[in-house]
Each structure stands twice: as C-alpha cells, then as structure tokens.
Amino acid sequence: MKTLAELEEIRKRTFDEIGMRTHTDYTRVVVGMATCGIAAGAREVMNAFVSEIQKRDIADVNVSATGCVGVCRLEPIVDVIDKDGKKVTYVHMTPEKVAKVVLEHLANGKICLEYTLQEEE
C-alpha cells in the first residue's frame, strides 16, 4: 500500500521524466546535430548533457537537437536558452566542458564565459 507521501514522490520523480510533454517554461539545451556537428562529436556532447543533467537531478531542462547554423568550424555548438528566451552559445564543446556547463550554468545560473564564442580582436 502506498501513502500520500509516497504518491507525491512518484509524482515528482515521474514528472521530471515526462513533464516535457505539457510543460513549456523549460530551459532548453539545443545541440547542433548536422553532419558537421556529428562529425565533430556532437553525439557525445549531447549524451553527456543528458547524463549530467540526470546525475545532478536538475529539473526543467530539456535537451534537443537542431541543424547546422553555418559556422561548422566551431562545432559542436550548443545553445542554452533560458526560460525568458535569453540565449548563450557555447562552441567547440566536449563532454568534459559539458560537465562544467551543467554544474555552473544549468545548476547555478553562472555562464561559463570561457566556452562561449570569443570574438577575435
């Protein structure tokens, strides 16, 4: 027999997993997954995002794929778009960098400036 508290626990746990089906105010992590991105290692980057987010139990974030934005030399490119639509673009991502972005940006709201596009002077 389940108690109300156990029911609430199931609700939370399952909602984290399937809430994306109705919930709209999510932070979105969009990974460039065109041929150029995949060749540069975007699949590993994307998988790293999913597993890091799960590991740190961060709610309200979803990960999706997108096409090529045209700067193939910077792939793998990842956009993090917060609930208000503000976008941060990370370039040349690797699974190691992902761990840091998840911890600092997604969990603590601090942008990892060193991985963003640094315009050459």
Binding site: M1, R11, T14, I53, S64
Partner: protein
C-alpha cells in the same frame, strides 16, 4: 529512472491501431537501435489525440511536433532527420495548417486552438498503461485530498457547485444524483460506470478509457467515498477490446499501489471495482437495463421510479455515471468548483467531448467549452465540408437526437439550446451532413437502428418504431401519400409519450426534427416523387441531356451494367436504358460535360 532527451508519442487509440500504429512502434524500436538512439529517445504508446482522420499520428517532445498519416516506411526518415539531426520532416506535417516557421507545436494548429481539454487532458499525453505517468500529472491527488481533507458532504457540494451534468445524454446534475444516493440509509451501495457507448459514430468514452483509464477509476473511488459505497462496476462493451485491456491493467496497477482495495492511502476507506462486459445491446446503455444486465439477467429496462439512486443494483442505492462525467471529477476536486463553473454557459458548465464524423474534413474527437457554436466546430476545428459542398444539417445525439439545420449554425451548443432545437446533447456524436444528404433517408437510417435495437419489452417501442420505419420506407420509394406525414407525426408523439425507457422515448426524435426543419423534402418525395438531394435511388432516373452531350463515351465505358449506348465515332449522343440502369451514379460522376441529370 532513466532520463530521455526526447519522447516519441505514438497514438494507440483504436483508429490509429487499426491504421498500423503498432507496426510503427516496432519500426521505431528497430531504427532507434540501428542509430544508437535507444538510450536517448523513448517511445510511448498513448491514447487518442483526436485527429483520427489524419492518423496514425505521432508527436515528438520536447518540441511538440505532430506528424500525420505516418507510415511504417516513414519511420526511418523521422529517426534519422528529426531525432538524429533535429530537422523537421516537413512533408509529414499538417498540410492544411498555416504553420509558421518554428510553430509546429500541436497546440498551435487550428484543430486544437479552440479546444479545451479537460476530460481528455491526459489522452495523447501519458502512457495509459503506466500508473506512474498518470500520477505524474496529479493523478490520484484528488482521491488523496478527498479522503484526508474532505467530508463526503463537502465533496458532493463541490460537485454540485461546479454545475457538472451527466455527459451520457440526459444532462442530470451529477452532484444532485450523488446527494440522493448519499441520503439513502443502506449498508450496501454501488457505483456504476456506464461505458456502454452505443450511438453510431460516438467514441469519446472509448477514447477516455483507452487514453486515461485511471481518471475513471479515481473518480469512482471518490464517488464511493462521497455516497458511502465500497464496490463499483464498470460496464463496458466487449466491442472495445483495447479499452477493456487497458482498464484491466489500470485496475491491477491501482490495486498494487493500494489505491483500490482495503484501507486506501492508509485512511481506512475501502473501495474495489470490477469490469463487466456488455454483449453489444444498445438498450444496455439505458441505466435500468444496464443494471439488470450486471445482475446477470436479460438486459431489459424497468419502470422508474424507483430511481437507481434509491433502488438500483440488487435493490441497493446505486449511482450510474458516464465515463466522460467521471473523467471530469478529479480535475474539479483539484481545481475547485469555481474553476469548472467559469467555463461554459449559464446552465451548462465545463466542456463537452464530441465525436465528429460524416461530411467533414477533420473527423475525430474534440473537446470544446459549452457554448461554442456549431459554426466554430464545423469550420474552425472541423476544417469545413469536403469538396466545397454546402453544409445542410448536423445530427447530435445519434439515433436519440435530432438535426440542427444550417439556419441554426450559430447556435451555441449546450444542453438547453439543443433541446430547444429538437435535438439533444446525447453522448456527443456529431454527424455532419452536406447538400447531398437526403433527410428522409437519414431519419430512416437512424430508425432502422432503433428498430434493430429495441429490446421488445414494451409495445410502443417494439411495434411503433417498426410501423414508423415502414412509412419512411414507403416515402423514400415514392409510394407515400400526404396523410402519411400527419400519421407519422402522431405516431411519433405517441411513442415518445408511452415508451418504457429512453430508447423508445427518444427513437422518434430523428423523424420529428427532420419533419420540423425539412418537411418540404418529405413532401417532395410524396407529391413530386423526387428526392431533392438526389440520394433515394428509387426516385432517381438518370438521363443524358442531348444538347450537352459531347459524345465522348466516358459514361458508357464506365457503366458497370452496359446500360448506356451511343457512338463516339459517329457522334451519336448517348442514351441510358432505364430498365437496365442500376442508379450507381458512376456516369454522373464521370461525365466531363455535366450532361447527365438525375
């Protein structure tokens, strides 16, 4: 629990299952493994999305992209393009929609924009075979609230204040019904769910049971607590195998979680239920016949009063609620009666699910706030009439209801306005008819159904409906006389007044309402021996208009019985031999010069 970045929801309702959705799921499983996506993407079989015309339908989250008419061979492309590379497969998006770049979410399509999904809130969102997914969207929270925070009378008051009325047809206030049963002093009471959906073309109850079975179970437990019942029956037609299967899975899971059985949620409340299968008799949707059938006897109605709330199953106080009514209960409990009462019209609160069929582009299942006009349903949500034909009438309430003619297309749909028009809400079947539909023939179609389904217990229904059908048959064959119309009307009123149960009492409705709005069509059949819609075969004669005939020979070439002669070479106009013609309409359709009249 594993986190997936993307969920692919495949419709597992009856219509889409029929259209191969199970093979699509298998193809997804295979393709995901081939592309090594099986740990990133989750395939979920879910309930009906409502757009059955465009099925099988799949929706991919988090984007909310909806793909239509998906075939097994499209799966590979969807996996490689959408799931792997994040590119839309645009050829499978809704063709008619005025979709703007980036706005492919299902909620934005014209079909969904005007809808408000309350009873169908979880259909097409959760996997109905997993209780955890129901719980995730606040499932069984209402039951917890009822058992721990509310007294039975408070629950009844909430339902009463919400203004919820029976969605199975009658429109009786649900809270009042519960109150009657609660006031009965009896140790044994029962809760029944009427899932014997029998109207031709109606399938909203099936979709709720298939897409969200737990909402019905939860509502029945709440009802049990409110009136003091500890046992329930769900009476569902055996013709709904998927619904029955998912319902049984849901009951088993609820029992496993202790949400059914003894001491629910550790509150000491006890409630259990079982499924009873109906054998396909339409009359068993009538509440007294349904109870007689559950008791193991021949499904025949009995006289009311006593009403079931006083003497029902095995003479004990019993509540009967329709599936859709029950599906509304948990939401009302959580969001409050005021929230529910804020939707709809003065006397009809909330939303209503309609199964839209017939001559309309988007056949399927829709849920709209009460008071939405028929025009919005047909043109905005339904996408209009195919082939640019004219809207003639809509039949609501199936064989028990009546038609709403085009002149009343701006009537807001609620219980009262439909009854005023001579139709009724019924369970929510909505059949759209265009200019090619003969109203006499439609009345005959529905009457044939009730003649077949009359249980035979009372004379007015058993004999009367048959006599009415014979008269209609005579009229559609051009053998009627004018006095038939008055006789038909009188007989219809007598049957309405004297039949034992709602089946007989409502059976004359299609005749009365078509007589009311389309009496001229009846008269044309009798006086002129003509069917104005060109649909009654016995009254048709196909003829070639000589001046218009271009002697192309297409009619003769396509005639299945070689009734048409003429010559293409010698430019002799074609003629139809009336003795051979079977009135199949092929020549009429094929003629490029519109030279054939009927």
């Amino acid at each position: 629990m594993q986190l997936f970045r993307s969920h692919v929801l495949v419709c597992g309702g009856t219509n889409c299952t029929f259209a191969n959705s199970e093979k699509i799921i298998a193809a997804f499983d295979k393709n995901l493994v081939e592309n090594k996506l099986e740990n990133e993407v989750k395939i979920v079989q879910t309930g009906c999305f409502g757009l059955c015309e465009e099925g099988p339908i799949i929706v991919i989250y988090p984007e909310g992209t909806m793909y239509f008419k998906v075939d097994v061979k499209d799966v590979q492309e969807i996996v490689q393009e959408h799931l792997l590379k994040g590119r839309l497969v645009s050829r499978l998006l809704q063709q008619s929609s005025e979709a703007v770049e980036g706005e492919y979410a299902i909620e934005k399509s014209s079909f969904f924009k005007k809808q408000m999904r309350v009873a169908l809130r979880n259909c097409g969102v959760i996997n109905p075979e997993l209780i955890d997914e129901y719980i995730a969207f606040d499932g069984y929270k209402a039951l917890g609230k009822a058992l721990t925070e509310m007294k039975p009378m408070e629950i009844i008051k909430t339902i009463k204040d919400s203004g919820l009325r029976g969605r199975g047809g009658g429109g009786f206030p649900t809270g009042t019904k519960w109150e009657f049963a609660a006031k009965q002093d009896n140790e044994q009471k029962y809760i029944c769910c009427n899932a014997d959906e029998g109207d031709p073309g109606a399938f909203m109850d099936r979709s709720v049971l298939e897409g969200d079975p737990h909402s019905v179970i939860e509502a029945m437990a709440i009802a049990g607590y409110a009136i003091g019942a500890n046992y329930g029956f769900i009476y569902v037609r055996a013709e709904y195998p998927i619904a029955v299967k998912r319902l049984q899975i849901a009951i088993d899971q609820a029992k496993e979680y202790g949400l059914l059985g003894d001491n629910i949620l550790d509150t000491g409340f006890k409630f259990d239920l079982e499924i009873r299968l109906g054998a396909g008799a339409f009359v068993c949707g009538e509440e007294t016949a349904l109870m007689t059938s559950i008791e193991g006897k021949r499904g025949e109605p009995r006289v009311r009063p006593p009403f079931p709330a006083v003497k029902g199953l095995w003479q004990k106080p019993t509540i009967l609620n329709n599936v859709e009514t029950l599906a509304n209960i948990p939401v009302i409990m959580l969001k409050g009666s005021e929230w529910f009462a804020s939707m709809g019209t003065e006397k009809s609160k909330g939303t209503k699910v309609f199964a839209v069929g017939g001559k309309i582009n988007n056949t399927g299942l829709i849920e709209i706030p009460m008071g939405t006009t028929l025009r919005e349903v047909i043109y905005d949500i339904g996408g209009g009439i195919p082939d640019g034909k004219k809207f003639k009438a809509a039949q609501t309430g199936g064989p028990s209801g009546g038609c709403i003619p085009a002149s009343h297309i701006d009537t807001p749909i609620d219980y009262e306005s439909l009854i005023e028009l001579g139709a009724m809400m019924g369970s929510g079947g909505l059949i759209v008819m265009d200019e090619d539909t003969c109203m006499v023939d439609i009345a005959k179609f529905f009457l044939e159904f009730t003649v077949d389904e009359s249980c035979g217990k009372c004379n007015p229904c058993r004999l009367g409906t048959r006599r009415m059908m014979e008269m209609l048959d005579k009229i559609t064959k051009g053998k009627g006389v004018m006095s038939d119309l008055d006789e038909l009307e009188n007989l219809a009123k007598d049957i309405k007044a004297s039949s034992l149960c709602a089946l007989g009492q409502t059976a004359p409705n299609p005749i009365l309402s078509t007589l009311r709005y389309f009496r001229d069509e009846y008269e044309a059949h009798i006086r002129d021996h003509k069917c104005p819609a060109g649909s009654c075969k016995a009254l048709l004669a196909y003829e070639v208009i000589e001046e218009k005939c271009v002697s192309c020979g297409l009619c003769a070439k396509n005639c299945p019985v070689n009734a048409i002669t003429g010559s293409k070479k010698e430019k002799i106009p074609f003629v139809i031999d009336q003795d051979i013609c079977i009135k199949c309409n092929v020549c009429f359709e094929k003629c490029p010069a519109e030279a054939i009249k009927k």
